[in-house]
Symmetry: C2
Subunit: 197 residues, 2 copies
C-alpha cells in the first residue's frame, strides 16, 4: 500500500515516515505555493532519510484565502489549519488513496477535526493516517532522540518547509517584517539533520 505523507523536514513528520516505513510504500510530499524554495530543505531531509520525495504546488487561491483569514484573525491558527485541510484534500483529489500527516495528539499545530477527517474519507473513499495521534510529547521525544539528530531554533531562524514558511514570506513581502512579528507568536521549531541507524 502506497501512502503520501505530508512532509516538512521537521521531527514530527520525519518520525511519521519511520513509523510508516515497515508497513507501507511511503512517499514524502512537500507542498508549496511556488513562492520560495523552502521545499528544497524537505527534499534534502527526505533523501537523507532514504525516502522518495515529491513536491506538489498548491493553487494560489488557497494562499490568498489563507492570508485573508490570517489578517482577519490576527493569529495564524485557523489560516494554517485551512491550508492543511486544503493540502490533504488536494492530494486526495489527485488520486492519493492513503494520505498521512504528522500531527500529534496534543499538538499546538492545527490539525484536522474528527468531522473533517470523516468527511474527507467518506466523500472521496480515501484514508487519512496520523501515526503520531497515539503518542504524547514525551514518547515522541524519546523516539526522536533514538532515531534522529535534530536542530532546534526560533521558527523564523530555521530552514524548514512547513506551511508557515511561505505564509510568513508572503506577509513579509506584502506587509513587512513587523507584520510577521505581530501575526506569528514566537515558538521553536525543529528540523532533522541525521537519521541514526
Amino acid at each position: 500500500m502506497r501512502v503520501s505523507l505530508l512532509y516538512s523536514g521537521g521531527k514530527d513528520s520525519s518520525l511519521c515516515a519511520l513509523l510508516l516505513e515497515p508497513f507501507f510504500e511511503v512517499e514524502l510530499v512537500t507542498c508549496t505555493f511556488g513562492l520560495t524554495e523552502a521545499w528544497r530543505t524537505a527534499q534534502r531531509a527526505a533523501i537523507m532519510l532514504g525516502f522518495a520525495h515529491r513536491v506538489v504546488t498548491l493553487p494560489r487561491d488557497i494562499l490568498d484565502e489563507c492570508v485573508s483569514m490570517l489578517l482577519d484573525d490576527g493569529f495564524p491558527h485557523n489560516a494554517i489549519k485551512f491550508v492543511h485541510f486544503k493540502a490533504v484534500e488536494h492530494l486526495i483529489k489527485n488520486g492519493a488513496k492513503l494520505v498521512a500527516d504528522g500531527t500529534r495528539l496534543n499538538d499546538r499545530v492545527p490539525k484536522l477535526t474528527y468531522a473533517e477527517l470523516q468527511s474527507l474519507e467518506y466523500k472521496y473513499g480515501s484514508c487519512i493516517i496520523r501515526p503520531l495521534m497515539g503518542y504524547s510529547k514525551p514518547s515522541v521525544m524519546a523516539l526522536v532522540r533514538r532515531y534522529f539528530e535534530i536542530e532546534e531554533n526560533e521558527s523564523d531562524m530555521i530552514d524548514k518547509a512547513d506551511y508557515e514558511t511561505e505564509i510568513r514570506h508572503v506577509i513579509r513581502e506584502r506587509y513587512g517584517t513587523e507584520k510577521v512579528r505581530e501575526l506569528f507568536p514566537h515558538h521553536t521549531q525543529s528540523r532533522v539533520i541525521l537519521r541514526k541507524r
Copy 2:
C-alpha cells in the same frame, strides 16, 4: 525501549503489536481476575505472532466495582472503561514506563479520555501509547487483511481474552445467562488466527 501492550488476542491489539515491533521491545500483557482461563487464548495468539507474553492478575475489588457499575448502568460502557483505566494504572504502578493499548480513533470500545491519559502520565511519569489512534476503521482493516487471518463471530461465541469475557462470566455465574443478554449488546468480535509474513 520496552513497552507493555495490553493484549486480548483480537485484531486491534494484535495489529498494535506489529506496529510497535520495529521500534520497541514489545511485551504483550493480558489481564485477568483469575476467574477463567480466557488469557490462554491471548497467550496462544501472542506465541503465534512471535511476542513475549505475560499474564497479570488484577485485584478482585476492581471486578466488584465494575460489576456494581454495570448493574447500576444497565450497559457495559462505563464498567469496561473503568477496568481498562485500572489495568493501565496497575501496569504503571508496577513499574511499566511505557504502556500501550489498541484503541482506535473511532472505537466503540471505551477508551481513556485525554484528561485520564494526561493525569496518568503526569502522576507516574510513564507514557501511554495508542498506535491505532491515528487510524480509522478502513485503514485498520486494510492492514489487518494484509497481516492476519482472523476469525469473526458474535462476542459470546468467540474465544478471546478481553475484559468483557470475564465480566460476562461473573454476571452469568451470579445472575444467569439472561442477565448477560440483557446487559451486553450483540456485537461481533474478532480474534487473530494467523500472521501472514
